[in-house]
């Protein structure tokens, strides 16, 4: 679905083909291939089209992709289908693992069956968050982080060294964030552990910290322009100049930068949180063997990783993927050592404690 240079003849041909599709009843499609199939739920652009075609022709396995747009919806859908899902591979953000695992929705990943497991940067594939209950649960494919994004024509660089700028009167009515993510950042900003892992044994302390962050965001509510939900929204707000500054994921911002908008991103000195998208095998997956074949194939080359970065804006977990990016594409996903030093990953261990406090806090901030 990228821009295609079209010859007139090709155009006429496809129009005729389209008309034929229109005329045939929808239920006649799709035909099933002989080599079996593999069913994948994922975001748009997370399976490069060229890779999919090649995989299908080499293995005879038909790849069915169902597009999802939100982790929560994917969880609901999988939960509604359990214990006999129609899906083999789902795409889960690393810090959401636990919710899926606790509900018995994922199968442990047997990394030994993936000959290309070593093609991934061990920062992602061997990091401590990725091992839960003694098992690996997914193959990391793309990584993202919360960044401070700003319009570099309207905001000077010295103003974005700290998250506190967000809450200064100077930028009143020019900021946007998602409440849930900002709560973690505010905790970090105030020197606490936004993952709540440090307070697993001290729920009272955890409650105090969340209450402090909540009251801070309520106090600063008059300054915010918009609590947003999706990356597309924050992009549009920058384009429309409704905001000059946002707390956002790097993917959507990188896409804006790649398109030439005067937007930059940084990780302020207080640090930020990162997360990793992983491909996971569903519990009781109908085509588990094909799923392993697919995972091994997609991990096989850094070009595929680069293609995924190009399409999504998120950073590839594949070793050497950046060598296949252009300078502009690299720039949109590069951070200084100093910035990365303060980055930590979202962790799932304390999720139950964290979200039992954070969810009501989010409602309270919205209602305030």
């Amino acid at each position: 679905m990228t821009k295609l240079p079209l010859s007139r003849r090709k155009f006429l041909g496809t129009t005729a083909a389209s008309a034929a599709v229109l005329a045939s009843p929808a239920y006649l499609r799709p035909a099933r291939a002989a080599g079996g199939e593999v069913n994948i739920w994922t975001y748009t652009d997370f399976v490069p089209e060229a890779f999919k075609d090649q995989f299908e022709s080499e293995t005879g396995i038909k790849v069915n992709i169902r597009l999802v747009d939100d982790q929560g919806k994917q969880f609901n859908l999988l939960a509604a289908e359990a214990p006999e899902p129609t899906v083999d591979i789902v795409t889960v953000a690393g810090h959401r693992f636990l919710q899926f695992i606790d509900s018995d929705l994922l199968a442990p990943l047997d990394a030994g069956r993936l000959t290309n497991w070593g093609a991934m940067n061990p920062i992602y594939s061997e990091s401590d968050w990725s091992t839960i209950n003694g098992n690996k649960w997914g193959a990391p494919i793309l990584s993202g982080m919360e960044v401070l994004a700003y319009n570099n024509e309207l905001v000077p660089e010295e103003d974005v060294k700290s998250w506190y700028t967000f809450f200064s009167d100077k930028y009143a009515g020019q900021t946007a964030y998602t409440i849930q993510d900002m709560l973690s950042i505010v905790m970090l900003m105030k020197g606490y552990d936004g993952n709540m892992v440090a307070y697993l044994d001290d729920p009272e302390k955890a409650a105090e910290i969340v209450a402090e962050a909540r009251d801070f965001l309520i106090e600063k509510k008059p300054l915010v322009r918009k609590y947003y939900d999706s990356g597309a929204e924050v992009q549009q707000m920058f384009v429309n100049q409704d905001i000059t500054m946002a707390c956002a994921w790097n993917g959507p911002i990188a896409a804006l930068m790649a398109d030439g908008f005067p937007v930059s991103m940084t990780i302020p000195k207080e640090g930020s949180y990162g997360f990793v998208y992983t491909y996971n095998i569903a519990n009781n997956a109908p085509n588990a063997d094909n799923a392993y074949l697919f995972l091994d194939a997609i991990l096989s080359s850094p070009e595929i990783g680069a293609e995924m970065t190009r399409a999504s804006g998120f950073i590839s977990t594949f070793n050497g993927a950046d060598q296949h990016l252009t300078e502009a594409e690299k720039a949109a996903s590069a951070f200084t050592e100093e910035e990365l030093a303060n980055l930590q990953f979202f962790r799932a261990e304390a999720n139950e404690l964290k979200y039992s406090l954070v969810d009501p806090a989010v409602e309270a901030i919205k209602a305030a």
């Binding site: 499609r29 597009l67 908008f261």
Partner: protein
């Protein structure tokens, strides 16, 4: 009616038309923008997005899939909604209020809830996710909209008309087909438009009950993940034009059929 009133009314009318069409015009124009994001300023223009829509058979398939779902579910909704309306428009019977409440139920459930409720219920009934499941959910969800419109119309049907037919010896079925149905026609057209629209634009139910083929809104939602691009605008515009063409064609051919039968 004085002249000034008339002028005032027509100003209001055309202002309303402008209000409706401005976002539409923006949508169409943005499809020509040479960028990955919609918005101002537009520095350069391109035809690629529009040409790309026609080159992408997936989009065309998705469109026809959505149209088929909308039409079939609408037909089911019309039949059941009208049937319920005729029942409810009768004189009082025991439990009428309860049936009324049941009739209106699907319209009152928030989209996400109804989608999940349908999904769970579908599994209990053994309905596989896919086209049939979406049609079923859309049909059930849209019945109340048909019933409400038809009940309103029925309340103005002169009783004498039905009685006259029955006096002439027609049974209830024939009376309905010959008297009530023609009288309901404008209401049914309106209700049909509602249903087509609700189905064609539905995201949540289609998402939860769909299989691996996305409907148009599901596709657009998924594409939105990487930003509101001119490509999405181009797809929406093409879908709009195709729907309009289908609509005009349907209207023309039904008129022709009517002429032929006379």
């Amino acid at each position: 009616m004085t002249r000034s009133h008339r002028v005032l009314l027509s100003v209001i009318f055309w202002a309303f038309v402008v209000y409706l069409f401005v976002p539409l015009v923006l949508m169409v124009v943005m499809g020509f923008k040479d960028s990955k994001f919609i918005g101002f300023p537009i520095r350069s223009w391109t035809l690629d997005w529009y040409l790309g829509v026609f080159a992408d058979t997936d989009v065309i398939f998705t469109f026809s899939y959505s149209v088929a779902i909308a039409i079939i579910s609408t037909l089911i909704s019309i039949v059941m909604g009208t049937w319920l309306a005729v029942l409810l428009a009768r004189d009082k019977f025991a439990g009428r209020a309860a049936v009324y409440a049941l009739m209106i139920l699907p319209a009152l459930v928030p989209g996400i809830i109804s989608a999940i409720a349908f999904r769970i219920y579908a599994r209990q009934l053994g309905i596989e996710p896919g086209m049939f499941a979406i049609i079923w959910a859309h049909a059930v969800h849209n019945v109340p909209f048909v019933s409400l419109v038809v009940i309103a119309r029925l309340s103005t049907l002169p009783k004498s008309m039905g009685e006259a037919a029955r006096d002439l010896g027609a049974d209830p079925f024939v009376t309905f087909m010959r008297i009530t149905l023609p009288y309901l026609k404008p209401a049914l057209i309106g209700a049909g438009i509602f249903c087509l629209l609700l189905s064609f634009d539905d995201f949540v139910r289609s998402f939860f009950l769909g299989g691996y083929d996305p409907t148009l809104p599901v596709l657009i939602f998924a594409m939105l993940r990487s930003g509101m691009s001119p490509e999405i605008n181009a797809i929406a515009t093409v879908a709009l034009v195709l729907t309009a063409v289908l609509g005009v064609w349907a209207e023309r051919s039904s008129r022709r059929m009517k002429k032929d039968s006379q």
